[in-house]
Amino acid sequence: MFNIGLYHYIALTTILFSIGLYGVLSSRNAIRLLMCIELMLNAVNINLVAFNNYVNMNDLSGQIFSIFILTVSAAEASVGLAILIALYRRRSTADMERFNLLKW
Amino acid sequence: MDHLPVASILIILPLVYALILPLLPNRDKLLHTFSGVGAGLLFVLSVFFWLATAKHNIPVYQYVPWLPQLGINYIVGADALSWVLVLLTTFLVFMSIVASFTSINKRLKLYYSMIFMLTSAILGVFMARDLFVFFLFWELELIPMYLLISIWGGPRREYAALKFVLYTLFGSIFMLAAILGLYFLSKSIFGDGTFDFSRVSQIPHLGLAVGAQILLFLGFFIAFAIKLPMVPFHTWLPDAHVEAPTPVSMLLAGILLKMGAYGMLRLCFGWFPEAAHVLAPYLVLIGMINIIYTAGVAMVQADLKKLIAYSSVSHMGFVLLGLGALNAIGFKGAVFQMISHGLISAGLFMIVGTLYTRTHTRSIAEMGGFGKNLPTVYFFALIIALASLGLPLLAGFPAETLVFYGAFLSHAFQSIPWFGGTHLMLSIQTLTIISAIGVILGAAYLLWMFQRVFMGPIFPKWSDLKDAVPSEAFVLAGLVLPIIIIGFAPNLVAGQFSSEMTAMAAPYNHIEEAHNPVTTQTIASIPRSVIAHKKGESH
């Protein structure tokens, strides 16, 4: 077998992040967009933990960071969903294309 | 008196008024009275302070650290130059508030608040002794002015207000750049950055290259030239005047333009003598164009207010001419012109306003023969128009005299290529003579206007117009009285800032001394007997 090293983690997170980014940029449904954002955040979390392990083993700042991000992203997701529900009530749709009131 | 922060009181008092006004009950009469009394009090207070400090030679100066880390301090003060303008300001504000009694009738609270805020800002500009404070007040003045034009103005008020604000802001950028330039220069020269007038003004004398001086001079100058206004930066003024309500026009012409002139004199000409010497010919040339060209434009205006607005531009050209002379006479003439023009242009706009409240038109073609029905207005309009065209024994004359004499006797151009030496065509003397044609042109458009508006048969539709009401007569008389007093005894005013201007012109004295046409040798070469020969000695 081969050792799992930092490169593997980076490769994984890059793939995860790219999938998330693709989802964010391409999806028209707001729910899917939110989920893709979570995907991107998770990619970052993995990155943080992995780097902590390989760069500085003695303290757990990477892990702590990722816990923070988890918390914040949970809050963010809930606020986002709330906004989405409010929007849905007004416009009866979750289509991102239709949310263009701020245009000009 | 010694410990009273005189300048700050004068700056803050109108602000206090502006804050009290919104709290008052919304009754028109109360608001008018409060503002009138308040402005009167401010005027009386400023006169009192001026007398009390000037009499005992108490310097008016206040220094409060504000953001000392950045070299920003709240410094205000007043010398004679500031005082005359402060008095002019408080007086004209009082007059314009009395003028508002008849001409303004909506949203009075906001209106008077804005007027007082404007007053505070203008007084701040005249009394600031720190560039940062100066700039702050300079910009602060825009907010109330914008609202005053855009809420109480005429049909195209928003366009005019926006044009005014954007134009002034455009100029302010250059001033800001110059201020920052001076700040960083002070940092490298003194070690600590400062905006203090008294220290910053030393910079040009500490070996600053002439090129850098010219850049800084121009930075300030553009901002002031727009305010003055100087051709070709003047087109905001006719629009702003035409749209602004009468009292605001009075303030605009009477005081706001003086901010530009004041800044030019104190900052540009007071601080950068070498740059001023290099640039003076161009300024005089532009001043000449200001006088002649806008007089031509005024001649053919069909709108009475626009005509007056252009005449205002034309008369501010005399300030440029006087400054460009670079001697005490010219400087004095420029300051005198600021004061005379302040009173006269306010009066002219008041006349237009009284006619407008009656006829609701500004078109000269629709007017005629008002002298018959409006004898009081006719009488005052006559005096003010005559003062404006520079009639002796009225305020406009001493100003123009000093400017012409100062410019003509000046040798500011002598060492400047193309303008000095043997180039008679562009010498300051020639330019002064051409400017003096403005005296004829000024008489032409003013008297022609007067003839069309006040003389001739009255139009049937105006036959039941009523003469000035007491408040209008009060304003007109209040403006005409100083015009006459100053006209008869100009030294009353000129004496106030005499030594100040001599000091301000001191850096330029070497120019005069180097180029005087009549030296003592010339005089000595004339036989004594010839000079001693006098009329009537022969019998």
Partner: protein
Amino acid sequence: MTELIQNIWLIPIYPLIAFAIIVLGRWSKILPQKSGAALVVGSTFLGLVHTLLFLSAWGPHYEPISVSAPWLHAGSLTLSMGYYIDAAGMLMLLIVTSVSLLIQIYTHGYMYHDPGYSRFYAYLALFNFSMLSLVLSSNLFQMYVFWEMVGVSSYLLIGFWFTRPSAAAAATKAFLMNRIGDFGLLTGILVLLYFTWNWWPGPVLSFTDMSGAAQVALHAAGPVGFTIMALLIFMGPVAKSAQIPLHTWLPDAMEGPTPISALIHAATMVAAGVFLIARMYPVFTISPVAMTVIAWVGGITAFVAATIAITQVDIKKALAYSTMSQLGYMVMAMGIGAYAAGLFHLMTHAFFKAMLFLCSGSVIHGCHDEQDMRKMGGLWKHMPITAATYLVGTIAITGVLPFSGFWSKDEIIGASISQPLLFAIGVVTAGLTAFYMFRTYFMTFHGEYRGHSHPHESPKVMWIPLVALAIPSALIGFALSGQLGLPSFEHFVHYGVSLVENGPNFAVMGLSMSFAIGGYVLAWLMYGSPKLISPERLKTTFSPLYELLWNKWYFDNAYFWIAKNVYLPFAALSAWFDRTIIDGIVGLTASTVNASGGALRTLQNGRVQSYLMIFFGAILTLAIVLMWIV
């Protein structure tokens, strides 16, 4: 008391006080309607008494007195005001106070029913203040100040009936024409000051030091510059004394009430130009070119105005051109160096021309505001006193022995004999003068009445001043001619060493008087009783000449053309330039900013995803670029 008399600067102050009282009193409605006359006449009378008292205390050598006080300090320049009195000034003082006193009395009758009665008296007081101050000016700057003040008084009085468009236009025109002259005077003063300003031992520009200053200026400026300066100063008198080419305002000024025409546009203000030349004589005399120009301007004006006067049908306009012509004589006298003769004529002319104008006012009043001489005639029967005094004035102006015009005008002609061409002009003009003056006399007072109203003699308050003026008009010339054993005019008023031979030259005077008699005979033949020559026939025979004269040598048309085709287009062009080009550039700047904003705002399409796309795209690009560089 003597100190009070010494302070002659008080003389102009009296009318100023009267002016202030009338203005304030009438505005606050405290003063009764008809109190103006008493105040103004009183102030002028006080002035006259003061002048006479001063004169009696002044002797025996009549040393000039000059007192100055600073008026305006500016750096190294101090402009002063004060008073300066010498013989010429005293002469003017006497003329102004006495003539205006009589005219103010006359005004009471003439303007009695006018609604602007008090306003008129207020203006009269203002004029008196300005004129007396001008006369007493101690320096050129002060003279300029009051020079403009008399100009504005004249503006107010010409435009007195401002509801008449013609009066309003005439007032504006008079002021503007005078402003052109003032411009010249102002620049002349500036040039003089430029070359002398650190020389003046006393107050700058004071008349006492003028001869020294003239020398200094000549040395400093050189002859060409000096001559230009002198001619610029001369522009002032050209406008004020209605000399060609700045004369066209004077005939139009007749739109004012007749007392004004008598006081300002005949006797006093227009003479101020001659007075200024007299005051500035030290400057003019050392520039031969300037003197020649002055003499010729005066001569040409005398001749041209006389020719125009021949065709006028409005009695006041005819007298106005006559005034111009006589002023031409005075200016010519100054130009040829006949200082005393010029001022002598100024004095006699002040009396007889004031009287002639008052007579014309009396006629106009009697004929119910009719000014056209074609609608008069035969008025001798209806208003004998007016007719008699008019005849005295006419004889005086034509220069018939021993009336005053003979001594003064013919002295000028006599003095000009060294310059034959000017002499010829003077003599011919004398003939023309007799012709047009008798023409007006015959047309007005002889023959049959051609109007439709009922002419009547004027009230006592109007004809008494006429009679009072008739006496000096007739006699003062003879009295001061030096022929009666009394001291002559030159004894009092003279400029240094006389430049030309003064005193009457009877051979020359006889010649000019014979021309005058010729003019009289011609007028009598054409307009008098026999009507042997028909003016109408002459009119058609010499049609082009008549057209030229009738149109006043086309001066007005030329000015109108210049104003309309040169200045107004320039003004319109600048207005267009201002709105279109300058403001256009301002607008263009604004709209450029606006348009670029419009172009950029399409980027903001409101889709979050496209923003993100741009965001990440930019990051990617940046990352690639950075990798490339590193």
